[in-house]
Amino acid sequence: MSERTAVIASRVGLHARPAGIFVAAVGELPLEVTIAMAGEPAEDALDASSILSIMSLGASNGDTVVLRADGDGADEALDSLVRILETDLDAE
C-alpha cells in the first residue's frame, strides 16, 4: 500500500473546478485510489474517483488529505495526484 499526504492549495478548497480536475486525473489511472482527511482511519477513506465523495469530504484550503493506492506504478501515480492537489487550480 502506497500512501502520500497533500495540502490542499486551491483557495476554494477541494470542490468545484479543482475537484473536477482531480477526479478526472484519478479516473485515467488503472488503479483504485482512496482519499481521507489526515488523521482519519484508512477504512473510512473514500473513493477518489467519485466527485460526490470528494465533495462530501469537505476539504478546505490548507487541509491535509491522505491518498492511498495499491499496485504497479502506485508511487508515481500518487506523486502526480499530490502535485495536482498542491497547485491552486482555481487561480488558473
Partner: protein, 596 residues
C-alpha cells in the same frame, strides 16, 4: 394574413425546407390541422424568423414509491441497464460541455462527472439488489446524496440541485424519453416550452437557438430578459403553443407577439427582411439624440468586463448599470476587496472618460447568496434583498464601497455608485454617508420601490441622482410576481400606473431644484417605443442591453422632444397598458419599417 397570394412555386420552398428539417431531425410531419394556425402572446424581443421547433421536454416524473423490479427482470439486468443509462447521461453532458464556454462549460463538466459517479451508481445498485426498480433506485440514491450535500450547506448545498438534475437525466435514459432541460440539436431551432428557469437560460446556446417561445411567463420573466440580452426574437405567454410537435415549422414575430404554424412565402420574405434590417441596425454612432438634437445619452447594462468591452464596441456612452453580482454569485464566501477591485477595474478600463454607474450588491429574491440571504423567507421579493442585506449582514456593503473606491482610483472612468431597493429618504441618506466615507464622490439610489418614486424629492436631497429599475418597479406597483405567466398582462412597464410613478420621480427631481439626473436602467429602456415615452416623461439617460442600442437610437432619432412629450401624455392617459402601447406604436411608423 394574405395567404391566398402565395404562388405554388414559392410554397415549394417552404415544403422543401420542411422536408429537409424533418429528414435531419427524423420527426413526424406537421399535423395538417395546425397549418396556418396562429398563436398570440406577448412579444418581448423583436425579430422575425422562420424555423423548426423543438419542445422543452416535460419534467421527469417520479417513479412510484417503493417501485419494485419488473417481473422477469433480474437485479443483474437492472444494474447493467442503470450503468448504461448513467454512462449515456455522462456522454451527453460531456458532449454538450464541449460546445459550451466559460462558467457554463465548467458546470456541465462537473455535472457530467456526477452522472456516472461510482458512489452514486454503487448506492443505486445496492438498492436494486434489494429488489428496487432501477428508476426508483437511482431516484432514492440521488436523493440521499442531495440531502447530504444540502446539509453541508453553502456551496455544497447549491450543488444538490445538480445531483437532482443528473438523476432526472438517468431516469429519462432508463425510460427512453428525452432528457430534461434545453434539447440539444446540431441544427439551430426555435425553442418552445412552458417557461425557462434561470438554470435553463444559463445553458442556452445562442448559436443553436433561433428564437424563444413560451406558453407561460411574462415580459419580465427570465425568458424575456435572456432573449433581449442574446438578441433572440421571443414571444411569451402564447397559450397553447407548447401543444405543437417537434419539427413543426413556424414563423415567429417577436415584436407583434405572434407565432404562425406552417408559414408561406410572405413570412419567409419578412424573415429575410429582418435579417437585412438587423445588419443595418447594428450600427450606433455613439451619440443618442432626438430629431431636434436633444441629447439622450444611451448607456449599457453590463455584468462584468467582457460585457463592458462588447458594450463599448457597440457604441455605449457609458455604463448605466454595472451589476456587481457577477463577483458574488456562485460563491460560498464573500470575495476579498482585492478580488473585487480587479473585477471592477476591468469594467472601468473599458470606458475611459465615460460614466460607469456601479450598483452595489443586489442579492436576495431570485438571486440568493448563501452568506447573505435567508432562503427560508416566505416572501423573498418583499424580504431582505438589495440594500436591505446591510441591515442583517453589516460590513459587506462597506467593504464593497471600499473596493469600488480603490478600483476607481487611477482609472479614467467617472465612477458613480447606487444602491438597489431603497424605500425611504433615510436609507438614501445613510447610503450617501457610506459612499462619502469610502471616498466616493457621486452617489445615487435606484427607484424600484413605489415609495421611492413618491418621495423622490426628499431622496434627492441626499443623493446626486436616481435610476429607475422598471422591472421591479412594475412588479411592486402592480403587486404581480414578474415570473408568473397568468399575470403577464399586469406585469408590463406600459401600465399607466408605472408611467405615473416615472413621471412623479422626474417631478420630484424638478421639485428638489438642482435638476439632478433621472435615468432608466430597466428592461423598459430597451423597448424602442417605450424609450420615446420615457424621454417624453423627462428621463435624462437610458441604459439597456448593448444589443438594443442601435434600435433605440434609430427610433429616438425619428421624433422631436415635443413629439415625445405628446406621446408620453397619450400613454399616461391611456386606460390600459395595451392601449398605451398600441397608441404610441401607431404614432411611430418607423417601428413597422424596421420590424421592431
Amino acid at each position: 394574413m394574405p395567404r391566398s397570394t402565395v404562388t405554388p412555386s414559392r410554397r415549394l420552398g417552404i415544403k422543401e425546407l420542411r422536408t429537409i428539417v424533418q429528414t435531419l431531425s427524423g420527426k413526424a410531419s406537421t399535423d395538417q390541422a395546425e397549418t396556418g394556425r396562429t398563436f398570440t402572446g406577448v412579444g418581448v424581443s423583436p425579430g422575425r424568423i422562420v424555423g423548426s421547433i423543438l419542445l422543452m421536454p416535460q419534467p421527469v416524473r417520479e417513479p412510484g414509491a417503493g417501485e419494485r423490479l419488473a417481473e422477469g427482470t433480474t437485479p443483474e439486468e437492472a444494474s447493467a441497464a442503470l450503468r448504461v443509462a448513467a454512462k449515456a447521461a455522462q456522454t451527453n453532458l460531456t458532449a454538450r460541455s464541449v460546445g459550451a464556454s466559460g462558467a457554463g462549460r465548467e458546470v456541465l463538466e462537473a455535472t457530467a462527472l456526477m452522472a456516472n459517479d461510482p458512489m452514486l451508481v454503487k448506492a443505486a445498485v445496492k438498492l436494486i439488489t434489494n429488489g428496487s426498480s432501477a428508476e426508483r433506485a437511482i431516484w432514492d440514491a440521488a436523493a440521499s446524496v442531495a440531502e447530504m450535500l444540502h446539509n453541508l450547506g453553502g456551496y455544497m448545498a447549491e450543488r444538490a440541485t445538480d445531483v437532482l438534475d443528473v438523476r432526472g437525466r438517468i431516469v429519462a435514459e432508463l425510460r427512453g424519453v428525452p432528457a430534461p432541460g434545453i434539447p440539444y440539436s446540431d441544427t439551430p431551432f426555435i425553442l418552445v416550452g412552458e417557461d425557462l428557469a434561470p438554470a435553463d437560460t444559463a445553458t442556452l446556446d445562442p448559436s443553436r437557438v433561433l428564437a424563444l417561445v413560451t406558453s407561460s411567463g411574462g415580459p419580465q420573466s427570465h425568458t424575456a430578459i435572456i432573449a433581449r440580452a442574446l438578441g433572440l426574437p421571443a414571444v411569451v405567454a402564447a397559450l397553447g403553443v407548447d401543444g405543437l410537435t417537434d419539427g413543426t415549422i413556424v414563423f415567429v414575430d417577436g415584436a407583434a407577439g405572434t407565432i404562425l404554424v406552417d408559414p408561406g412565402a410572405d413570412e419567409v420574405d419578412l424573415a429575410k427582411e429582418w435579417e437585412t434590417t438587423t445588419a443595418a441596425l447594428a450600427v450606433f454612432d455613439g451619440t443618442g439624440r432626438l430629431k431636434d438634437g436633444h441629447l439622450v445619452p444611451l448607456l449599457s447594462n453590463v455584468g462584468g468586463a467582457t460585457d463592458a468591452v462588447k458594450a463599448a464596441a457597440a457604441g455605449a456612452q457609458g455604463v448605466g448599470l454595472l451589476r456587481t453580482e457577477f463577483c458574488f454569485l456562485e460563491r460560498d464566501i464573500e470575495p476579498s476587496i482585492a478580488e473585487q477591485v480587479e473585477a471592477y477595474r476591468g469594467v472601468f478600463d473599458a470606458f475611459p472618460g465615460k460614466k460607469v454607474v456601479v450598483r452595489t450588491l443586489d442579492a436576495g429574491a431570485d438571486k440568493p447568496l448563501p452568506f447573505l440571504t435567508d432562503a427560508s423567507e416566505p416572501n423573498p421579493a418583499l424580504g431582505v434583498r438589495g440594500y436591505r442585506t446591510d441591515f442583517t449582514s453589516p460590513g459587506v456593503l462597506e467593504r464593497q464601497l471600499q473596493a469600488i473606491a480603490q478600483a476607481a482610483d487611477g482609472t479614467k472612468a467617472q465612477v458613480w455608485v447606487m444602491a438597489p431597493m431603497i424605500a425611504t429618504a433615510e436609507e438614501a441618506e445613510h447610503f450617501a454617508g457610506l459612499c462619502a466615507a469610502a471616498g466616493l464622490k457621486t452617489s445615487g439610489v435606484m427607484v424600484e420601490v413605489p415609495s421611492a418614486a413618491l418621495t423622490a424629492a426628499s431622496i434627492l436631497e441626499h443623493v446626486d441622482f436616481v435610476s429607475l429599475g422598471t422591472n421591479d418597479l412594475t412588479q411592486y406597483a402592480m403587486a404581480a410576481d414578474r415570473q408568473l405567466g397568468p399575470l403577464a398582462a399586469l406585469n408590463t412597464p406600459w401600465q399607466p400606473a408605472v408611467l405615473q410613478l416615472i413621471r412623479l420621480t422626474v417631478a420630484g427631481s424638478r421639485d428638489e431644484g438642482n435638476d439632478k439626473p433621472v435615468g432608466v436602467c430597466g428592461e423598459a429602456a430597451a423597448d424602442p417605443a417605450l424609450a420615446v415615452v420615457l424621454v417624453g416623461l423627462g428621463v435624462s439617460t437610458l441604459s439597456m442591453t448593448a444589443r438594443a442600442l442601435s434600435a433605440v437610437a434609430a427610433v429616438l432619432a425619428s421624433v422631436t422632444l415635443p413629439e415625445a412629450q405628446q406621446l408620453a401624455t397619450l400613454a399616461l392617459k391611456s386606460h390600459s397598458a395595451t392601449d398605451a402601447r398600441r397608441i404610441v406604436r401607431e404614432k411611430l411608423p418607423i417601428l413597422n419599417t424596421l420590424g421592431l
